[in-house]
């Protein structure tokens, strides 16, 4: 390539067609650009009429309300060893009178939570190797089913019994893992949540927009 001596900038086509002459090129960039470059022109100020002010208030209120609704799912926080006073104080602020139970007709069946089964006797029969008779295992399962029958009336929706046994047989392995978590989430889907009225000394904080 001609013209490539001593770091001289040369292009492979005639640059005059674009209107660039040698001297008018800006100097080469050295290093990354600044993080917050200077802007020559400042942005136009925001509109500030009453419609905007109203929508602003609406937005902040809505954000605040939606954070308190039961839709807002908090991650399972690890319980500290000592329950701090702050936690009890914070719990009172939640909208506990609105338990949310979705209408299960609208969602696929697999999203329903497992109803917690009472394990009155540890099913040693299932744990032991297959030396145990298969019949005994089935009998035990029927017993557990009967225990479940009492439990089921508490839940909102009626699931078909056959479906439950089918599910139960498939997902027994998972159930033990699920159980610990279900203890904590029992409040959300199952009816037996009891509100003893302690949390209702809510102050008139509802009107304030929190940030």
């Amino acid at each position: 390539m001609g013209g490539r001596g001593r770091g001289v900038a040369a292009f492979s086509f005639n640059v005059e067609a674009l209107g660039i002459t040698r001297g008018s090129m800006p100097e080469a960039m050295v290093g990354p650009r600044p993080l917050f470059p200077n802007t020559e022109s400042k942005p136009v100020p925001l509109r500030d009429d009453e419609g905007e002010a109203y929508m602003l208030a609406l937005k902040q209120e809505m954000r605040c309300t939606m954070q308190r609704l039961p839709h807002n799912i908090k991650p399972l926080a690890a319980k500290a060893d000592v329950e701090r006073y702050k936690e009890r104080y914070n719990k009172q602020k939640q909208l506990n009178d609105e338990e949310w139970t979705p209408d299960w007709n609208l969602y696929p069946k697999e999203l329903r939570p497992q109803v917690k089964r009472t394990r009155t006797t540890k099913p040693a029969g299932i744990k032991k190797p297959s030396a145990k008779d298969a019949k005994d295992v089935l009998n035990k399962l029927e017993e557990l089913e009967k225990n479940d029958g009492a439990e089921e009336e508490k839940s909102d929706d009626e699931k078909p019994k056959t479906k439950k046994t089918a599910e139960g047989e498939e997902e027994e392995d998972l159930e033990e893992e699920l159980e610990e978590e279900e203890v904590e989430e029992e409040n959300d889907y199952i009816d037996s949540y009891f509100d003893n009225g302690e949390e209702d000394n809510d102050d008139g904080d509802d009107g304030e927009a929190t940030y």
Partner: protein
């Protein structure tokens, strides 16, 4: 679904639904349709949290489920919808529009529905009546019937619609593998739109008699014990179980589009012309399909008859106004014939195009100055120009014109088109033309807008986090003040509590509030630009399909 959109969706989900839902939602957005097991494995969240998040997302319409791609036997797949999540930005605008059209009752109905996704009519009516009663003065309460009538009006004008019924095509999971070859129910190719069901806008006949209940703070302690138990066993069916209502966003968007056109006409011409255009749009509301590029033709006689009573202009004056509108370069109104005193249409697509173009020009002007804007406008009108021609037409000296063109090019607003004269593309014998592609530039600006809003939200969260301690302190003090006032304390106690916050802290709080209000307000206003650009892009895509 771009990176900017994904980031913005994540932030919106976090703010409104919490971090768990954010994680699941962004995972679904990034990876497309997935079934439950894959989501659990890939996102690393416990399965019950995943289930809950999916329920929340589906309730709000941000996610939908369908049969797996492998056929009727495969597990259910979930798919998140980016547009619906981005629509959360626009909630305040929907509520405000409902307020202007249907006053407080309508506003509360829309607000409750937006917050909860979808609900039955009876629950909405009860909740809204209670809220309205709560805000009224003592002794007055609102009848359910009033709320029902507002609800019916909203449904009649199609602002609310029924949720499409979920087809029970989804087979139960446990029996799936046993029947591989059996014929299953027909799988729908795409998600059914709510409007494909004939009962979409049918208000059910519901027996709702009663008044709103005022929630008294003192009685709550006693009442709640009773009501929580009672609510579960109280199966007060009103005859509309299973019929869920949701907000019809498309209708709101049509309304916003009309409002934008009317206000553009008002600011460009005058109030009377905007009233004429408003009348024309109102008359063609029911006859025009949402995706039409212009309204149905209306004769000048009809327009004259339908003008609002307080705008009594004479017939010749109306004709003059219509001629003015037709001749305007923004092409809002077009003339399609001469029968009936002249047949006129409102050019929706052209209006959107021109409004988008005005937005682009304004952006260039604010960012780069008025002379660069002049070059930009020139290129928009003249399509392709050479370097020399740009300098001549824009009447800007050569050096500065070059500089501005290269700045615009580096921002991808202006493109270079090569036009070879000879087959060997020799540079000395090639034309180099500058051009602007309006559609591509609009898309690019739309992405910039998403990035802007995401940055605004980020900054707001950062500011809140920085001053978290101060905010908590001020909240606690307000709570103490409120409880003191409620229990009737003396002024000295109140001032003592007030002084717990020092003056510089108060100032800091004030400036923090000011910043956050500004950031929030900026989000709302950027959303208007987003709406305009998105409508333009969507309208162009429909036309060219």
């Amino acid at each position: 679904m771009t990176a900017q959109e994904a980031r913005l969706c994540g932030l919106l989900l976090r703010e409104h639904f919490g971090e768990v839902v954010e994680k699941i939602g962004t995972h679904l957005l990034r990876s497309g349709a997935q079934n439950l097991r894959t989501i659990v494995n890939e996102s690393g969240t416990p399965i019950d949290l995943v289930k809950k998040s999916l329920c929340v997302l589906m309730k709000h319409g941000a996610c939908r489920f369908s049969i797996g791609r492998k056929g009727p036997g495969s597990p259910v797949e979930y798919q998140a919808s980016c547009e619906r999540i981005l629509g959360i930005l626009r909630y305040p605008r929907y509520i405000y529009t409902a307020k202007t059209l249907y006053s407080d009752t309508g506003e509360l109905i829309i607000e409750e529905l937006l917050q909860r996704g979808h609900m039955t009519m009876s629950s909405i009516v009860k909740m809204v009546a209670d809220r309205l009663t709560h805000n009224m003065e003592e002794g007055r309460s609102i009848e359910y019937n009033e709320v029902v009538s507002t609800f019916s009006k909203l449904v009649e004008t199609h602002f609310l619609q029924r949720c499409p019924p979920v087809s029970e095509v989804v087979p139960p999971v446990s029996t799936a593998p046993t029947v591989p070859g059996a014929p299953a129910a027909p799988v729908s190719t795409g998600p059914p739109t709510p409007e494909s069901f004939s009962d979409c806008y049918l208000v059910p006949s519901v027996s709702l008699a009663g008044r709103g209940k005022r929630r008294r703070s003192g009685e709550d302690v006693v009442l709640d014990q009773g009501t929580t138990k009672k609510a579960k066993t109280d199966l007060q069916t009103h005859g509309d179980e299973g019929i869920y209502w949701q907000v019809n966003f498309e209708r709101f968007h049509l309304h916003f589009r009309d409002q934008t056109i009317i206000s553009a006409v008002a600011s460009k011409l005058d109030q009377t012309s905007s009233e004429i255009v408003r009348t024309m749009l109102r008359m063609s509301e029911v006859t025009t399909t949402p995706s039409a590029s212009c309204t149905q033709a209306l004769s000048a006689n009809e327009v004259f008859r339908s003008l609002p009573a307080n705008y009594s202009i004479s017939r010749p004056v109306l004709d003059q106004y219509l001629t003015l509108l037709v001749d305007d370069p923004m092409e809002f109104v077009g003339k399609t014939g001469d029968s009936g005193g002249g047949m006129y249409v409102v050019n929706l697509h052209k209006a959107l195009t021109n409004l988008a173009r005005a937005t682009l020009e304004s952006v260039v002007q604010e960012k780069f100055g008025s002379r660069s804007a002049r070059i930009f406008r020139l290129l928009l009108r003249k399509r392709h120009l050479e370097q020399k021609q740009v300098e001549d037409f824009a009447m800007i000296p050569a050096k500065e014109a070059k500089d501005m063109l290269y700045t615009l090019m580096s921002e991808n607003l202006v493109l270079l088109q090569e036009l070879p004269k000879t087959p060997d593309h020799a540079p000395s014998r090639t034309f180099y033309l500058y051009t602007v592609n309006q559609l591509a530039t609009a898309r690019m600006l739309l992405q910039h807008c998403y990035k802007t809003v995401a940055n605004l939200i980020d900054r707001r969260l950062f500011e809140t986090k920085e001053s978290k301690r101060l905010l908590e302190k001020s909240q606690r003090i307000e709570a103490i003040m409120a409880s003191l006032q409620a229990s009737g304390a003396e002024p000295e106690q109140l001032t003592e509590v007030e002084e717990m916050i020092s003056a510089p802290e108060k100032q800091q709080l004030e400036s923090l509030r000011h910043h956050i209000n500004k950031l929030d307000s900026a989000e709302n206003q950027v959303d208007e630009t987003i709406f305009l650009l998105k409508s333009y892009v969507a309208s162009t895509a429909r036309i060219t399909r």
